[in-house]
Symmetry: C2
């Protein structure tokens, strides 16, 4: 099992994050090894704090309206290796160590497994 | 100047994209060479169609409420090399050839230039 390492964000860093009207911020998860973009999901202030503290990706499920501790059901957890916020403070990017078969509930490694245009 | 190559998406592919209540879908731009995540912005159906047809990233600016043909002002255009939609059809990922100094209006190469935690 990969190590879970917490990140201690400064008050200034946390204050820079802008949540939308629903209290959410979009979060991109990128595989730290392959550099593939795995998925995009959402966090609220509480699950962002949990992600940083636990060193594991903890999202907010908009469809289920509940905390989504990624991998608790599937076993395919995501361990945080670095976290970034963008110039506007309204999007986050995490580099993660992806456990198990991948990030997508379909069984695919990345959620972005379908391309526009003719398939090769 | 990099080549602009259009992508001919099928009707089935276009129908799979789900726009939100505001008619928008979040779009991740990733550098096809460095694999760095450059930015996240939004497209509506018209600017997605323009992006695929022109082979250049054309966003919808939520703050200005207008078409944002990335790089027309800054010169830092993004040329499309591949486009993907995710398992839910509600997020897009484009691999782009980034022109000029980078993607961010601050002058940084990527919008995600600030990390949580202590800086190395």
């Amino acid at each position: 099992m990969p190590d879970a390492v917490s990140i201690l964000a400064s008050p200034e860093q946390m204050a820079a994050i802008k949540f939308d009207a629903a209290g959410l911020v979009p979060v991109i998860a990128q595989d730290v090894h392959t550099r593939s973009v795995l998925m995009m999901a959402w966090m609220n202030a509480a699950t962002l704090a949990a992600t940083l503290a636990e060193g594991r990706m903890v999202y907010w499920s908009r469809s289920r309206q509940e905390v989504w501790r990624k991998g608790d059901t599937s076993g395919d957890r995501q361990f945080v290796r670095a976290g970034y916020y963008d110039c506007d403070g309204d999007t986050l990017l995490f580099l993660v160590e992806q456990e198990g078969r991948g990030a997508c509930h379909t069984g695919e490694y990345t959620c972005f497994y379908r391309a526009f245009g003719e398939q090769p």
